[in-house]
Symmetry: C2
Subunit: 442 residues, 2 copies
């Protein structure tokens, strides 16, 4: 129903359980997040483990952490047992190592083992994202067997995306959709029906690549296999949406010079720690730009008016460079730019730089002439602007590509590095040109 | 199988049809996009309309446009008839108005009418994104009727996400999952089984909001209703992934001062047209910053060394402001920041600004002292840096919020506007302070 929080206030209900019953878990979770901690624990006490499991997965990470710290290990073990393994692994990963061990000891051996295995995968890999709940049958199972099994499953309806077919030693052989099963005659063997060309990902594949595969083939879930081609889990489309949001947020932060993810609800000193390293790099960069001006101090002393155009040159160079960089970074991230197309793109950017450079430089030249009434200064400023913009476009296009080539995320190239490089080259061009024409200026 | 392009080259196959048969439509489409235009048309000629429909939806928009322009209206009408209405509307929307009319006249009246209606919705709204193929039954239909109908459906298996229950006048009453249907007894009525609390969206809701709803509730599809509560379509999760990618790309571009989407494969002059307006705004901004320096030309003439610190002040102010802004913009886009939390966040940012300001300003003061051997200048630079950074943090946090309040996308606040504002205030603080302490400096 997507109701507003105010409308779903549990005051209208005779008990918190009734409130839960009438609303979606995501809404209940959102409502709880707005309450004081004690109230939350009080409300959660009224619900059973299965319901708690459904709600807790919708809490954001910090809230999960705070709440989980207040719940007994015994209760947590029960809640975790009621969750899908990927959600359970997510919840466990916010806890302290000692508590994790305690909880795993309290759980059923097979579930605990599955969770332990999941926790060992890199949490940004397919293995770290997958769930181990999936529906797999052997090739000689019949359609009737599948239908009976599906009816008896206690897991949630959303889990039935595809039915996977495996060999006795768990190798992935094929895939079937629920509709294929429904349309087929009851005694048909799955091996005769299945599609053998299965889109699949390796357990070690990076989550960003997993997302691309799922998005490309418009799938609801993708099977995850280990190095022996054995089916070990599936990644579902709802997790892919989370991954895409995480990765784009990460790119944005990197481009603005904030390390990785930034938790808006976290402690502000945590945020400061993430931002300060970039600021120090930029401080050095800014001072390096300053040394260029320092070198030309004499020119500046005789013609102080030159300083007026430092901001406009720096702003334009930085901005046009960032534009070029954003285009490349985004195209690389969404796989829109193939390596083969790159030279063509660089040429296009160069042409764009020439056109934009002429437009802006001529405008600036005319404005400067009108403002300062000095043709020489107007020419120095105009030519510098043109050169700076073309340089910025080229640097903005080439640098992310070089960085990408070395396997580093090109988004980090933005912000500090590109800005400093463009500032230095821009200021150097400007003051060199000014000094060269200085006799005419003074 | 997610094969590399080289591995799926159709040369290995006896005909293009066999090549198609052995590979996923998304891979076939990707392969075709790498071929010269004539080759593509030649290959497509070997396939029937249903297969063409499957492949063409995976082409990117420019490729779709180029190819569709070369296909006869008669053939296009057949291909469009074989597509889901949302994909068909997408393909139609890249064609010229005259051609669209011709094609619609060639299609079956009811399909043409549906398409015409879809084309009338804003293409960024739920209506513009939805497909009109969904499975709906009346509340008095039995489970057995549903199962028979599903078996007979010719539409693709992926289409069965949920089964919607409607009244005789098409009002949305409830929803059922396929698993609920499978588990229920055959003669049960849907009205007795259905979940009446349906997450739904209005046909005019913005696509970004639709994506948030689907992501929040982890749904595979969301029903779209008109203002009379009638079910008119569904939006599926694969479209949501596209929407999320589009919207984040848009945000990134806006923040780097490039209007909306930027087509990396498009004509470069198209790109220039999108970028130049922002550059002109920034040109004015940069010149305004210059007027601040102009005002203090006298101070600069006596102490030219002041110019050295213009870049570092501008860089740091701009960067720290962009950091603050990115955090707010991203949190607003992902709904992580509730309006109620905003003051708390502003306070946190202010505290962060104070800490980062002190760290950077003291470092800069010491560096300047060591470099210029002048305590007064070191103090002027240090204090200016501190003030600039705190101002930048506050502006970077407040401005996107103000813009968001007026219903404008806060991402546009980045780049040009914030940079100019911070530059002007930073330079003003710096030179005012310098002039004030000038007697000591000279």
């Amino acid at each position: 129903m997507n109701k507003k929080l105010a409308e779903i206030a549990p005051a209208k209900y005779s008990s918190f359980y009734n409130f839960y019953y009438d609303n979606y878990p995501a809404d209940v979770a959102e409502f709880l997040e707005s309450l004081p901690k004690e109230k939350v624990l009080e409300s959660l006490d009224q619900l059973n483990y299965e319901i708690l499991a459904e709600i807790i997965i919708f809490f954001d990470n910090d809230f999960k952490k705070e709440i989980a710290a207040k719940i007994s290990t015994f209760k947590l073990a029960e809640i975790l047992s009621a969750m899908y393994t990927d959600d359970a692994a997510d919840l466990l990963s916010v806890l302290k190592v000692g508590k994790i061990k305690e909880i795993l000891n309290l759980m059923k051996a097979n579930k605990a083992l599955e969770l332990k295995e999941l926790l060992e995968y890199d949490d940004q890999s397919a293995g770290g994202r997958m769930t181990t709940e999936f529906i797999a049958f052997y090739a000689d199972n019949s359609v009737a067997e599948v239908l009976t099994k599906i009816k008896d499953l206690i897991i949630e309806p959303e889990m039935i995306y595809y039915i996977y077919v495996i060999s006795r030693n768990k190798k992935l052989l094929g895939v079937l959709s629920v509709r294929q099963i429904l349309a087929a005659s009851r005694n048909k063997e799955l091996g005769k029906l299945m599609n053998k060309n299965v889109v699949q990902v390796n357990v070690n594949l990076d989550q960003e690549e997993v997302a691309k595969v799922l998005a490309k083939y418009d799938l609801l879930a993708v099977p995850v296999i280990n190095n022996y081609q054995q089916l070990v889990g599936i990644i579902t489309v709802d997790d892919i949406i989370d991954i895409i949001e995480e990765e784009t947020t990460e790119d944005l932060y990197k481009m603005s010079g904030t390390t990785n993810t930034y938790d808006i609800h976290g402690n502000f000193m945590e945020g400061v720690k993430k931002r300060v390293p970039w600021l120090f790099i930029l401080l050095i960069g800014g001072l390096l730009s300053g040394t260029v001006i320092n070198r030309f101090e004499q020119a500046l002393e005789s013609v102080a008016v030159l300083a007026i155009f430092i901001p406009v040159l720096m702003d334009m160079g930085g901005n046009v460079g960032t534009q070029s960089l954003t285009i490349v970074v985004r195209a690389l991230a969404t796989d829109e730019l193939e390596k083969e197309d790159y030279l063509k793109h660089l040429l296009n950017e160069f042409k764009s730089g020439l056109v934009m450079g002429v437009l802006i430089a001529v405008s600036l030249l005319l404005i400067t002439l009108f403002w300062q009434q000095n043709l020489s200064i107007a020419f120095v400023v105009g030519i510098s602007m043109f050169t700076t913009m073309v340089t910025a476009v080229i640097l903005g296009t080439i640098i992310p590509f070089i960085i990408d080539y070395f396997g580093i995320d090109p988004a980090v190239a933005a912000g500090p590095f590109i800005t400093t490089l463009i500032d230095i080259s821009g200021l150097f061009i400007y003051f060199s040109l000014a000094s060269f024409l200085l006799e005419k200026l003074v």
